[in-house]
Symmetry: C2
């Protein structure tokens, strides 16, 4: 190799290593933000809000400044010129770096700031509007958010050469597109309505569910949650469980902060919530150790992330094998007995299907219909085909058409979610993509792991977790979502396994 060539390659390696240094710093700042976000939700006294807002804003502005420094563009170009000098993980890392940089530089900083202010304001007004069931008061602020989100989408669309909606989606699920989602959702829509009707008919003839009556001691609920988290292999040396109003998983991979909430009259909420967040948390704890501080070491996207939580909450925890392990423990913990505590009744409780108004309370059969409705509406909002003021009417008619229920008010209708006031357009579809992926992954583990059902019944989850580590978590972002699914399950994301799962579980 000519000396000149050699020295070029050296420069490119050096450029790459310099990028690693800079992204490690960005990772540290984003880790700091993550812990502070958790603290805001789980620990902070109310008076701390203004100072916390300043702290988070400073971190976000600084990170943006660091990511958009002119040298970054040069370094990315230099490093890209000869990726032969890089190993596959480094190459994948370089792609991830470029994607982050692309998002950060595609939009005029003034627009980013205007959007950030508008969403903060709109979120605040949304809380009030929802409490007062007053959609009209939210219209101006929400229009502003939708307009600014559209401007961002346009700017990114032009820069990336993709459709506007795809440009937004790319932030949550890199590389995904309307084409893919339209196809998946169309298949679901073909299947779900008839299937739902059949399930409702079947459940109508089953014995009625007897809901266990509390009070359920919160300390016991917490103890149960911790017991199941431990059984699933959550590493408490690298994470903790706390309480917040809206359960979530935050922190950093070696310090995962998950939260749940307890209510004295229903133990299933905190328990299933904890299982859900534990799925997220195990993904984070299982990300590749070597790449902790680099973009390629992060979770692949929201779809896979949600697949891990739904795998725990929906696939595993509501299945008969897990229930036969868990129910005696739950019963014993609460020292409860009687007909409500019969295994058959509790199974019916955990698998009850019922079209309802609220997405977060929905069962796994009707949940995708909530998501599809939102996906259609947010595409129309973004395209300008649906004026914000017409949202309640559009929402209510879609609810009637897909789920057969009519919201009595906007509070239980189009005011229920924070996503749009927060400017998060393109996020909703990932919930259902996650549900599809969860089914696809879980059905593969059931085949590939010896004596799978027996192990679950015995409370032995080690093989399941090890399989997820190897086939999902440890890839980080080194492959695409479909790349990981292809390697793990033999095919890209599809609806077949989800349909099969629903049929097996609800119409056996």
């Amino acid at each position: 190799m000519a000396d000149l060539e050699k020295s070029k390659i050296l420069t490119r390696r050096t450029a790459y290593l310099e990028l690693e240094k800079r992204f490690a710093r960005l990772s540290a700042l984003s880790g700091a933000s993550a812990i502070l976000h958790w603290d805001s939700a789980a620990m902070m006294p109310v008076g701390g809000s203004p100072a916390r807002a300043e702290q988070l804003a400073a971190l976000s502005v600084l990170s943006h400044e660091l990511l958009t420094q002119p040298e970054i563009a040069d370094l990315l170009d230099e490093a890209k010129e000869n990726t032969e000098a890089l190993d596959p993980w480094q190459s994948a890392n370089l792609l991830e770096m470029r994607n982050r940089w692309r998002h950060a530089t595609a939009v005029d900083p003034d627009l980013v700031e205007a959007h950030s202010h508008a969403t903060s304001l709109c979120e605040m007004q949304w809380r009030e509007a929802r409490a007062n069931n007053d959609f009209v008061s939210l219209v101006p602020a929400l229009e502003e958010v939708v307009n600014l989100t559209r401007s961002i989408a346009t700017a990114k669309s032009e820069r990336f050469g993709v459709a506007s909606y795809d440009a937004l989606l790319d932030e949550y699920e890199p590389g995904c597109s309307v084409t893919t989602i339209d196809r998946l959702f169309a298949e679901l829509e073909q299947f779900l309505p008839d299937f739902l009707a059949e399930v409702l008919e079947r459940q109508h003839h089953a014995p009625p569910v007897i809901v266990p009556v509390g009070p359920f001691d919160v300390a016991i609920q917490k103890q149960l949650g911790l017991e199941f988290m431990t059984a699933l292999g959550f590493d408490f040396n690298r994470g903790r469980l706390d309480i917040s109003h809206h359960p979530f998983t935050g922190g950093v991979p070696d310090d995962v902060r998950l939260t749940t909430r307890y209510t004295g009259d229903d133990f299933t909420q905190s328990l299933m919530g904890t299982m859900h967040e534990t799925g997220h948390a195990l993904y984070e704890q299982g990300l590749p150790k070597k790449w902790r501080s680099q973009p390629v070491g992060l979770a692949r996207g929201m779809a896979l992330h949600e697949s891990q939580s739904l795998l725990m909450e929906m696939q595993l925890s509501r299945g008969p094998d897990f229930l036969s392990f868990a129910l005696p423990r739950i019963k014993n913990a609460f020292k409860a007995d009687g007909p409500a505590w019969e295994v058959a009744n509790l199974e019916r409780l955990f698998l009850k299907v019922e079209p309802g108004l609220i997405r977060v309370d929905a069962d796994e059969v009707t949940y995708p219909l909530h998501v599809i409705l939102r996906y259609r509406l947010e595409k129309a909002l973004l395209a300008g085909d649906l004026p914000v003021a017409d949202l309640p009417a559009a929402w209510n008619s879609a609810m009637r058409a897909t789920l057969g229920v009519t919201p009595p008010n906007d509070k239980m209708g189009c005011l229920q979610d924070i996503h749009w006031p927060g400017g998060a357009v393109g996020y909703f579809p990932t919930y259902t993509m996650g549900a599809l992926a969860a089914a696809q992954i879980y059905r593969t583990t059931a085949v590939e792991i010896d004596d799978f059902e027996a192990k679950i019944r015995a409370g032995n989850f080690a093989d399941l977790i090890a399989w997820l580590r190897t086939h999902i978590h440890e890839y980080g972002s080194s492959l695409s979502t479909d790349g990981i699914l292809q390697a793990a399950t033999g095919k890209p994301l599809g609806v077949e396994d989800f349909k099969a799962h629903l049929r097996d579980r609800y119409l056996p």
Copy 2:
């Protein structure tokens, strides 16, 4: 005024306002660090350490970069040229900004980094050395820290035009000097030994202290702490109480995080510890609201900070009026009775004087002697007059000479404190300056507040706290320590009130 003049003043105002913006960002970053530090001590699982270290290092490096940007020097000069455009608080703020910038730019960044690495390493080795009672193993690392600290002191000394030790002291107690400390400590040394002998003699003839025997329920201890914090006016909307191995007060003024620790066999530690930290916390919560994000809004220095904690722990909490309010509540909380719980015995318990080996366990009479010993030794270390290897011998002989006790090992001698391994030279004197200030302030409040003793006995602390707010807390850093004391107590920091306090309390 000529137009040119006007425009110059405008530029200077603009320069000042630009500085305010930049220091507000620095304040946000330092607030983020403060919460993350608290989290490390009170919440973080062990596995989170490496990621946390990266987060804190990134924040510290970035802050240093922002503070040392070349524009800052220009802005400071521009703003300084005509301080007539500024109001008194703004002028004071500008002085504080300059002092911070001076400290940040006085030392070569390589030296700062070397010092930071050396202290991290030495702190780690110190933990091991202390556990193993092995001073020799610490010598190389501690020599490195002392040498690098000396280099920093030299650089700052040249830049500031003050003595080396003063240059270090300035970080903890701005504007203070060896001259002042030497004078204060000389007066104490003239007084304390004879006084101590007399107190010991007096206590020898008093009835022996009966130590209350536990176990003391930790939940009750916590409840008691919260009760007294509330009585003192701690605002739980802007702060919280948690547990950590080493109690401290952290966070930010509107989100103060204080910690304590509980042991089942002694309730006095957590209680007095909580009172101490509450003093620190009330200072933070009382800092001027308008200047939250600026250097002038910060606590004046370590001496005044310690004065606020010692005022609560030593002046107030161990005095007869507070005890007559608190003891029935303590007794009632633990449902305790018997001779150990007689008021007279508990007073003797809280006022027991005894020369001992450990600074943090020392009573208020012997504490200054521990500090003076350290002050002398650290001055000698810094000057190079005392080789690190000779520290144990020097320590032990000084202990014998001043306190009449000989450490049986270095663990209970020169290995007990983290300050020197952490590179904190110039910090120790502020403990005793704080004790002097506490006495001076408390004796003023007792004169200026009507029916002071009766109010304390009734558990009515509102006037005391209001007085401290107005006369100490709300000054922030707008005056010097002596300036604040002069305004509050009619004189600069001195030893007379402390001596009078000790005489009144221990030799009535």
